[in-house]
């Protein structure tokens, strides 16, 4: 049987598929939209609650440590990093000053082993070719160190924008992730990175970058906690245009920057 005949047979049979009755999706969606919008005018109870919250907020802003905790974070691309609060104010450099070390705390926030994720739990595994077909941006892959080759695993995940994750395994230990690269387009969920051990600002190809030492949880702005941390080491985050890159590695910063600066479109 020719391929066309076989395709026609499959098409014909697939159209006979019996589905469950389609539920009243529209009714439920509309009631959820209406309930999420809430009343047009605030009730007295809500108005009072809002007033109390505003007063509390401005009261807190008058206390220097609280103000520091509220205001001080580093935003790079879609990633927002909240340093661990300390008793002494932290001077986080706002300009791209290479090599400026900002120690935040010497105590890890959580045990690193509790944050590393099993690759089999990551959704959206696919091939490099397929991933490139599904995302609208060009997938870049490191050409350094020499002989690195293609990633061992590729994932494309829906984060209100297709996020690509490339993973390289340790050639001497296939259970260990050597390096991972998240490529996140603009418009995706913001990623909140809470309380890394240290933060350092640097540059990748002249673009502002942040070098952070874990462990720390990642939190998406939609409220989900997601332990997509794959390497027990460091993270280099930088943006180029609309894309945010996040490189996890156990290599030192200088090496990580070389890797980051070696990114090239996949063949």
């Amino acid at each position: 049987m020719s391929e066309m005949d076989f395709g026609n047979q499959i098409h014909s049979l697939a159209k006979q598929m019996n589905y469950p009755r389609t539920p009243d999706v529209a009714g439920r969606v509309m009631s959820r939209i209406v309930s999420e919008r809430g009343p047009r005018f605030l009730s007295k109870r809500w108005a009072w609650s809002l007033t109390i919250i505003i007063v509390l907020f401005f009261s807190l802003m008058l206390i220097p440590p609280a103000r520091a905790a509220i205001l001080e974070f580093i935003q790079i691309g879609i990633v927002r990093i909240f340093p661990r609060s300390t008793e002494t104010p932290i001077d986080i450099p706002k300009t791209a000053t290479p090599q400026s070390l900002v120690p935040v705390t010497a105590t890890p926030y959580l045990e690193s082993s509790t944050l590393l994720v099993d690759l089999t739990r990551l959704a959206g595994e696919t091939t490099l070719d397929d991933a490139q077909g599904r995302v609208t941006y060009s997938i870049l892959s490191p050409t350094y160190p020499p002989g690195l080759g293609e990633p061992d695993h590729v994932f494309v995940q829906d984060a209100d924008g297709a996020m690509t994750i490339l993973v390289w395994l340790d050639p001497n230990d296939s259970q260990k992730v050597l390096m991972s690269l998240h490529i996140v387009p603009e418009g995706s969920w913001a990623i909140h990175k809470a309380e890394p051990v240290s933060i350092q600002e640097t540059q990748v190809n002249g673009w502002r970058a942040v070098w952070a030492e874990g462990p720390y949880p990642l939190r998406y702005s939609n409220g989900d906690l997601d332990f997509t941390r794959l390497v027990d080491g460091y993270v280099l985050i930088w943006t180029e245009g609309d894309i945010t890159y996040r490189l996890e590695t156990d290599s030192p910063m200088e090496e990580a920057i070389k890797i980051a600066e070696s990114l090239q479109p996949i063949p």
Binding site: D5, L13, M17, Y19, P23, G133
Partner: protein, 189 residues
């Protein structure tokens, strides 16, 4: 009111314009989710989530694109993520406690449905990208152009990927699906 007008009004916050759009596309979205997940409750959750996500991101919808493929691409992504999420295992556990449906005798039509179900089982053995293209093109009967838009690939790529998926499917049917083997050998179904 035509679809582009409804989309523009919904994008400006008019919820009343959103309802007819949901009604028009809920069946295709629900069915695609059902094909991926194999459970009507899960598929309904995904269908609702699809339309809520689309509603929340409607301002970013490119009006030069077709609406149905955009919705189906959201539904496919959500379904694929759900397949590996913890919630899926909870749902499966709950289903295990439900009463088993009573068996009914097969008539001719249901025999055809059995073959269609066998085909679905065979397709489930393909990897997810191949499943997705087969579901869109053959099960939901989307034209090649809309399949390409849903996958954000060129029409020529749809054809080449379908061809590869069919070749894999042919091998799977030949090895594991005796009910469908006649079709594979070229006899009428």
């Amino acid at each position: 009111m035509d679809e582009p007008t409804l989309i523009r009004r919904a994008a400006s916050g008019d919820a009343a314009a959103w309802e007819p759009l949901v009604l028009a596309h809920q069946q295709a979205v629900f069915r695609l989710a059902y094909l991926f997940l194999g459970d009507a409750d899960d598929a309904e959750d995904i269908a609702q989530e699809t339309f809520l996500r689309a509603w929340n991101h409607l301002k970013r919808f490119d009006e030069t694109r077709s609406f149905r493929p955009w919705l189906l691409s959201i539904a496919a992504n959500l379904s694929r993520n759900r397949r590996r999420s913890a919630g899926r295992y909870v749902s499966a556990l709950m289903r295990a406690f439900r009463e088993q449906p009573k068996e009914t005798p097969l008539d001719e039509k249901s025999a055809q449905n059995t073959e269609a179900n066998e085909l679905w089982r065979a397709v489930q053995q393909l990897d997810l990208p191949d499943q997705q293209i087969v579901y869109l093109r053959y099960f939901l009967d989307l034209p090649v152009s809309e399949t390409a838009e849903a996958l954000q690939i060129a029409e020529g790529t749809v054809k080449s990927r379908l061809s590869r998926a069919l070749e894999k499917l042919r091998r799977i049917i030949h090895q594991d699906f005796a009910v469908l083997a006649d079709m594979h050998e070229g006899r009428d179904v």
